[in-house]
């Protein structure tokens, strides 16, 4: 009834639209305030070295969070990203270690390929066999981690070739390679979601899958592809993280799903699906990165940091809830 009433009065509908716009930019405002506050709180925060460091850290989570945005927009979730990231890292790392390392591009593509494959398995189970995304990806979280340990024999893979390490440690015109990769991923993801037919399909499937189906949208393929994209991006993040840390660690990425989901949620993307964008996820990822960095600089114990980060996620969802439930 409330919707019927609001439209009976175009003025009110317009005010509603204004409120929508304001709530959209609230997150940007929060980021700016946080940024300015930290600039005053610590003199090193604004240094080039520190900001570069923040961006490099944000890149890994940001890449995961962008894939997660796609999945969550369709109304799903992927809990397996941390494990998939580790699996792809050790696979890529194993190719470029030792006396005769493979072409780094091959390792790079292998990492992404393994990720896409795991994502495809998730996608088939969810889209074709209608198993809940939560259950499928929770299972995959365990399986991919097990596969990682099995593949690496539970040990780090050291001595990665310098050519491969460039993906994590190199610079192009003074900008770290991970940051460049993240920027490219963001721009492509943004354009696809905003301007392509496929992007519209993602929103429609998450917004109302029955309506999407009635409108002739291949809903299964859309859901499947979202998980595959997520897997490929987890692979990409795994390759970059491995290249940055100089050896492939089988225990890499533990708990990364939390940060990725947090970035999406803080960005205001609805966990029910159909509402959100990668732009806000980017800001969400930046907020998480800046908070972690700021707390580090201020010398807050990492134990407290976990509590603070968790609380921020819950508060973000709370704000989101009150924003959407107001009539």
């Amino acid at each position: 009834m409330t919707t019927e009433l609001s439209s009976a009065n175009p003025g009110r509908a317009r005010r509603q639209m204004a409120a929508d716009i304001l709530s959209k930019y609230g997150i940007v405002l929060a980021f700016v305030i946080l940024f300015v506050a930290l600039s005053f709180a610590h003199q090193n925060f604004l240094s080039t070295a520190n900001l570069t460091n923040v961006l490099r850290q944000v890149s890994i989570n940001g890449i995961l969070a962008i894939g997660m945005t796609y999945v969550i927009l369709t109304g799903g979730i992927d809990l397996s990203v941390g494990s998939v990231l580790a699996l792809c890292g050790v696979v890529a790392g194993s190719l470029v270690t030792g006396a005769d390392p493979a072409n780094p591009a091959l390792a790079f593509l292998a990492g992404i390929g393994v990720g896409a494959l795991v994502g495809a398995i998730n996608g088939i189970l969810i889209a074709r066999f209608k198993v809940t995304a939560f259950v499928v990806t929770l299972g995959m979280l365990s399986m991919a981690r097990g596969a990682t340990l099995l593949y690496s024999d539970g040990r780090p893979i050291p001595n990665l070739s310098p050519e491969f390490r460039w993906f994590g440690q190199g610079f192009v015109m003074g900008v770290p390679v991970p940051v460049i990769v993240f920027a490219l991923v963001f721009i492509i993801a943004f354009i696809v979601l905003r301007y392509t037919v496929y992007g519209r399909w993602i929103y429609a499937v998450g917004g109302n899958i029955k309506s999407a189906r009635t409108s002739g949208i291949p809903t299964r393929s859309v859901i499947f592809s979202a998980y595959m994209i997520m897997g490929a991006l987890a692979g990409l993040a795994g390759v970059i993280l491995t290249a940055r840390t100089t050896s492939a660690l089988p225990q890499a990425g533990l708990g990364y799903e939390l940060d990725a989901i947090a970035a999406v949620v803080i960005g205001g993307t609805s966990l029910v699906g159909g509402v959100g964008s990668v732009t806000y996820t980017l800001i969400g990822a930046l907020i998480i990165g800046v908070i972690s960095n700021g707390l580090d600089l201020l010398g807050v114990s990492s134990y407290y940091q976990q509590i603070i980060k968790g609380a921020i996620i819950v508060v973000a969802v709370l704000i989101d809830r009150s924003r959407h439930s107001n009539p």
């Binding site: 439209s7 519209r200 399909w201 309506s211 009635t214």
Partner: protein, 522 residues
């Protein structure tokens, strides 16, 4: 209250009517009278839903309560059940004036309802369901399962119901589940049973089971108020009838003294003149022919063809299989059998994607549930089914989208502040126009409309009728599904009536009448 003079007029009379007066009026002289309601009225924020509700239910009888949509039956039943309070009127249950404040009070007094929406605990056994919340105990703590099963078995034996008390609820048919609900009511010593459309969701054979049970209950002295649109059912099991129309009591009597035709005319009412059928347009060759559509338990051997320029109406009661057939035709629901030819060429339709490619578009029954993406904008919704037309190389052209959407907003006079407004902020009528615009963007030759005017205002309705007529006149075909008889009479060229998943008959709209449609459908 000011807008409801009839209710205020009744008010003082109610005050005067004390028990003594009622006795003086002779109520207690009839111990077989289980329930007597008179002058029951109820208005919702000034709009009367029930003006004069009456019924006299005898012990050991089945009393059919008849009436069309908006006759006031539901309001009346809700008042009898204590779910709502009457504004005025008197209800006597077993000789006492009652005024139930809640369903629990009504239940304690022996009044129980068996609704369409049954809510059994499916993972429990039959016996557990019957004694839910009042399980026989052993030692105060433990459920005495043996006694519970034995009690249930005895109850079924008495009622002559063929049900195993140890069976899982989940494995029972809908009719059997209703029987369990009935047994549950009887086990609570209910002697006034209200059954609301008990056969709407069940098949012929199952209905026979239910009717046998009802006959058995009647023998046990239970009084049953039986509400159904299916006149065939009413004539086969009911003893008495009471007809409501537009919130008023119309007539009561014994079914033995009335025929089907007269009952229909009482329900439909003579004052409501049949509307003029739409002027027939030039009819072309067959546009679409669906042959032999069947789906187990839903619809059986349905063949429908629509010519160019024709609007074919599908009428039928709830659960008659109309929507299921339409969805199967659109590829949105399963079918076991059935072929489709469009303009003489066979077409295989397995999904809405296939249907859209074949030139069929569909307005589904529930615009919020299956029609719109409420979280998206007007614009995104309008172009959703035809995105490829606005895209080159996978990219949607914003300019062409904006042009098309603005044209549709103008054409259908969709009242929206902007095409970027979320569609959830529009009114029902405007939302429905968005759904229609989306269908039209796909440039269809065939339009399936399932209840296209449900819950929208009169103005929007008229615009939609005008559009459909215009659409057909351009040589397209329309399948119009509606449960509103006047709507279907006024807008279809030919009307096909569904009854229990089969085609019960077909009438040219010019020769059809409300009576004829009701007769065929029930």
């Amino acid at each position: 209250m000011a807008g409801n003079p009839s209710a205020t007029a009744v008010e003082p009379r109610r005050e005067a009517r004390e028990d003594a007066d009622l006795r003086a009026m002779g109520y207690e002289l009839d111990p077989d009278l289980l329930l007597a309601a008179t002058d029951v009225a109820k208005a919702y924020s000034g709009v009367p839903a029930l003006i004069d509700g009456r019924i006299r239910l005898r012990r050991g009888s089945v009393h059919a309560l008849c009436g069309g949509n908006g006759a006031g039956k539901s309001t009346f039943l809700n008042i009898l059940m204590g779910l709502q309070k009457a504004d005025s009127g008197t209800i006597l249950a077993k000789g006492r004036v009652v005024r139930y404040g809640s369903a629990a009070e009504a239940l304690a007094d022996g009044v129980a309802i068996i609704t369409q929406e049954l809510s059994p605990v499916l993972d429990m056994t039959v016996a557990e369901n019957i004694y839910l919340g009042r399980e026989p105990r052993r030692g105060g703590w433990f459920v005495d399962k043996k006694k519970m099963v034995a009690d249930a078995a005895a109850l079924f034996a008495r009622l002559k119901f063929d049900i195993d008390p140890r069976a899982q609820m989940r494995h029972l048919s809908v009719a059997k589940i209703q029987l369990v609900e009935i047994a549950k009511a009887i086990s609570r010593d209910s002697d006034i049973l209200i059954m609301d459309e008990p056969t709407s969701a069940i098949g012929e054979k199952e209905a026979a089971t239910l009717f046998a049970a009802i006959a058995s209950l009647r023998e046990q002295g239970v009084g049953i108020i039986y509400v159904s649109h299916r006149l065939t059912d009413i004539f086969s099991i009911a003893d008495d009838y009471t007809v409501f129309r537009d919130g008023r009591f119309i007539e009561t009597g014994s079914l033995a003294d009335i025929d089907r035709k007269r009952l229909i005319s009482l329900i439909v009412g003579r004052d409501l003149a049949d509307q003029q059928a739409r002027p027939t347009t030039a009819r072309g060759e067959t546009m679409i022919a669906a042959e032999g559509f069947s789906r187990d338990g839903q619809f059986e051997d349905i063949s429908v063809s629509i010519a160019r320029g024709e609007i074919v109406g599908l009428y039928g009661l709830m659960g008659a299989g109309r929507s299921e057939f339409a969805n199967a035709l659109y590829g949105n629901g399963r079918k076991d059998k059935g072929t489709v030819t469009i303009e003489g060429r066979p077409v295989e339709i397995r999904s809405p994607t296939d249907a859209l490619a074949a030139g069929i578009a569909m307005i589904t029954e529930d615009r919020k549930e299956t029609g719109l993406v409420l979280t998206s904008t007007v614009s995104q919704n309008v172009v959703l089914a035809a995105l490829k037309r606005f895209a080159r190389g996978g990219f949607v052209s914003g300019r062409r989208e904006a042009e098309a959407v603005d044209a549709q907003i103008k054409r259908f006079r969709i009242r929206t502040a902007s095409r970027h407004l979320l569609v959830q902020h529009l009114s029902g009528g405007n939302q429905q126009k968005v759904v229609l615009a989306r269908c039209i963007e796909t440039d269809p030759k065939i339009l399936i409309c399932d209840e296209p005017t449900r819950g929208i205002d009169e103005g929007a309705k008229r615009e939609i009728y005008a559009f459909l007529s215009d659409f057909a006149a351009k040589g397209n075909a329309v399948l119009l599904i509606s449960s509103e008889i006047p709507e279907i009479l006024a807008n279809a060229d030919r009307i096909i009536v569904f009854r229990r998943g089969r085609i019960a008959g077909e009438l040219p709209a010019a020769e059809a009448s409300q009576d004829a449609l009701v007769h065929l459908a029930s």
